[in-house]
Amino acid sequence: MGGPEVEHLIGLLSKLPGMGPRSARRAALKMLQQPESRMLPLAAALREAAEAVKPCADCGNLDSQDPCTICADEHRDRSIICVVEGVGDLWALERARVHTGLYHVLGGTLSALSGIGPEDLNIPLLLSRIAEGEVAEVILALGATVDGAATAHWLTDQIRPTGVAITRVGQGVPMGGALDVLDDGTLAAALRTRRGA
């Protein structure tokens, strides 16, 4: 239906999170019916974002400026770094407005079963940020999964010799839960009730 261009478009859309073949088809059809008002602006926005947005060299956040808006913000508390698994978690915490310090995006968690080790994560940069001496507290805001817990344990072991305070977000994060799917209230409570690791 619609020729190879349409099939290609649906194929690309259906690989996006939350999309399946059926919803991809619906989205493609909606756009194709109004190419001028829906499709071309989207295409332009996609190109602009793809060219402008890059990972922040300090924290790993995605932003059109580097250092990112958060790292560049002079009002943020530079003595606290909140370590998260992915950019989605960072955005969720920002939406909930519960953290006024900086972030560090690991880019995953340790996973023996998926073959992801410490060398695959953005850990050396975190350790060098801590070594610069401005950091007083590191918050480990990792999901309440086995891999999230193992990663927090591992990082605690690495960071402890530096003497900075290490806290863990735990309370209220349901077992097996990822941070970026929690509602803002739960996230706020989880961060408020962090405890020493």
Partner: protein
Amino acid sequence: MLRLNRLTLTDFRSYAALTWRPAARISVLYGPNGTGKTNLLEALSLIVPGRGLRSARNADLPRLDGPGSWAVAARFQTQEGETIIGTGCEPGSDRRVFRLDGAAPRNQADIARIVAAVWLTPQMDRLFQEGLSGRRRFLDRLVWALEPGHAREMAAHDTAVGSRNRLLSEGRHDRAWLSGLEDSIARHAVAASAARLSLVTRLNAQIAAGAGAFPPGRIGLACPIAERLQVEPALKVEDWLRETLAANRPRDSAAGTCLLGAHRTDMRLTDVTTGTPAALASTGQQKALLIGVILAHAALIASARGFAPLLLLDEPAVHLDAERRRALWDVLIALPAQTVITGTDAETFLPLAGHAEALATGGGGLHPDGRFLRLQTDTTPVPAAL
């Protein structure tokens, strides 16, 4: 209260399409082997998360000449009103999904909070002759019906054990990573063992209180973690487990598996009156012991959670003498549980006639037996499953 109002099967095992509205709290399904009795019990067992009473793989569940997708949907009356739980595989997918009132549940515990099911199958006649994994599954199902969080606790435990096994087998002796995983194993193993211990204690008390025609059994746990939990606070047991796991790394590495944890627990069952372990009892005696456990469990869940679990009894009358059969029917009539029983002939179940409906299976459908109870059923059309 937990009542099954309607069960809908779509391209599941031998059923192309079936809608069944139980007309009584107890339903008897009878017919020759291969007519779909156990398939229907299995469908009900799959309404609770897990692999069901046959421990089937997903690939075995769709109807042979069907489209490959399948669905089981059950409408229940609960304390909180009517709820529909569905499970199945969508077309083009071999991943089994759940639906709770039409939407994807946040997690499987959401479903376990609403329904519970316990079953007895002819394969369990060998429960005490075969490996410990079958006994542990049996035990954990009993725990899960009381403690909906138990399945997640065990899943997290098993993930941590698998991850540690992997690191050890790859020779990756990252001390901090291993101790992080051992910390998870310790926490989840202690939580799971405490839940098992609590279930066993309460169930043993329930069995002792309700001793009747079934031999009173006593369940025991062969598990060093549970043993310590009986004499030490949980946090101390966690510490012991963490330390022992750390010390055992070379031993586990050589064995290729983790030799300590909640996955190594075994369950024992002993006839209290004679002191005979189930493993040494006759088949009939073992069956009677197990039935006693399951009936006491249903009563325990009913009093602890306010609703009795679904009781799925596949061929329970086999190996039981006439006196025990009568006792079984009496208990089923007295229990508040929605019960589905199978057998090869209707006559065995005639003593239940005033309390149960009976349906002959065959031809991909169910055929009411006029000798048993028949209540009014509504005939409104039913929307598709899921």
